[in-house]
Symmetry: C2
Subunit: 212 residues, 2 copies
């Protein structure tokens, strides 16, 4: 059987998406050319008409994933809302993105990615640094206007990212044994309690809901 022909730009997107799906199911370890081709509905050899090799596919996938994660975060950061609202929105959207694409954290964690290709590792590291920077600025703004406690912006940003990433890791190891969204919500609530100004110490009365 011969596949109807499409130009390279379209095929490249299909292949990258197929790769992401394969990683979600079989992991980066199970990401073979044959698997990608099968998922994309084409022959193995045809992959090489659109990519120089597997490494190039990984590079394209890295760009796509980085863009998917950073894009929404940057959008939220640039938009309207309080610091708490922005942090919550970014956190939730990130969790939702992972829940929808299990291959995403697998790709980020995988050393098959980090160690194999120096430039790809650098790309990912830079994207993470940018992410931290984005969150830091939101937090710094919140500290300045008294919305948040007086805390270190960068370290707090890293703490937030660590939460997401750790949830994703456990979720990946347990093969989705728990609800990622629900777990994320629990952690977010606790985190918000910690960082917002003058919040806790509700030890006794459960009254002060809706803190504005």
């Amino acid at each position: 059987m011969m596949l109807p022909k499409k130009n390279t730009t379209i095929r490249r997107k299909e292949i990258v998406q197929a790769a992401l799906q394969v990683i979600g199911e079989k992991g980066v370890h199970g990401l073979t050319i044959t698997e990608i081709a099968g998922r994309a509905g084409m022959s193995d050899a045809n992959i090489y008409r659109h990519f120089k090799g597997k490494q190039e596919i990984l590079k394209a996938l890295g760009d796509f994933i980085s863009e998917a994660m950073m894009g929404t975060a940057a959008g939220i950061a640039a938009g309207k809302g309080s610091s708490l609202e922005k942090l919550s929105a970014i956190f939730r959207s990130h969790a939702a993105l992972i829940a929808a694409n299990p291959g995403l954290p697998r790709f980020m964690f995988s050393e098959e990615i980090h160690l194999e290709d120096l430039s790809l590792a650098k790309t990912i590291a830079d994207k993470i640094a940018g992410y931290i920077e984005t969150l830091s600025m939101i937090i710094a703004a919140g500290v300045k206007n008294g919305e948040l406690q007086s805390l270190a912006p960068r370290e707090t940003a890293i703490t937030l990212l660590g939460m997401i990433q750790f949830i994703a890791l456990r979720w990946s190891i347990t093969r989705g044994a728990f609800s990622l969204d629900a777990e994320a919500e629990r952690l977010l609530n606790n985190f918000l309690l910690l960082i917002q100004a003058g919040s806790p110490q509700v030890l006794l009365e459960p009254d002060t809901m809706e803190p504005v």
Copy 2:
């Protein structure tokens, strides 16, 4: 050349240690029988005198790593000291352990581990759950005696672990481009500020110290 003979229990330890070192340098992806054998100074075939196969080596390595991490944490948890002191000690020892054994986080992150062997994945997940439980109890105790803010023990424990793990990931990706210990210390300080009772909020009145 023929290696002087030793019994299996000794050889098994040597092989596991060699494997851990190889992972630290080449990653789980680069963990090949030939590499392990070379590092341990023995022939490939001899590996199979002491392990049934590669999978069994990974299993033994998983046990070793779990024990190394959980062991010290449990010891500190059972010892004397305030909650803050215990959390700090566990955090620092964990960071130091990772700094000394780069293969440790690589192993934990690797899906080559999680996805290949169900029982190994379960072992790791259980160990992590136990770790969370240990930290939770420390935190719960701190909350009860007023040392810590009224926060959710389990979620706070996960936040702490997420911090460590995220540092380790970035450290791994950047191939040790920054000082893991220093970074860990910065994050720990910020975290302690967040969780201890009545610390920040110096914004206005530095009154409500010591709430019990």
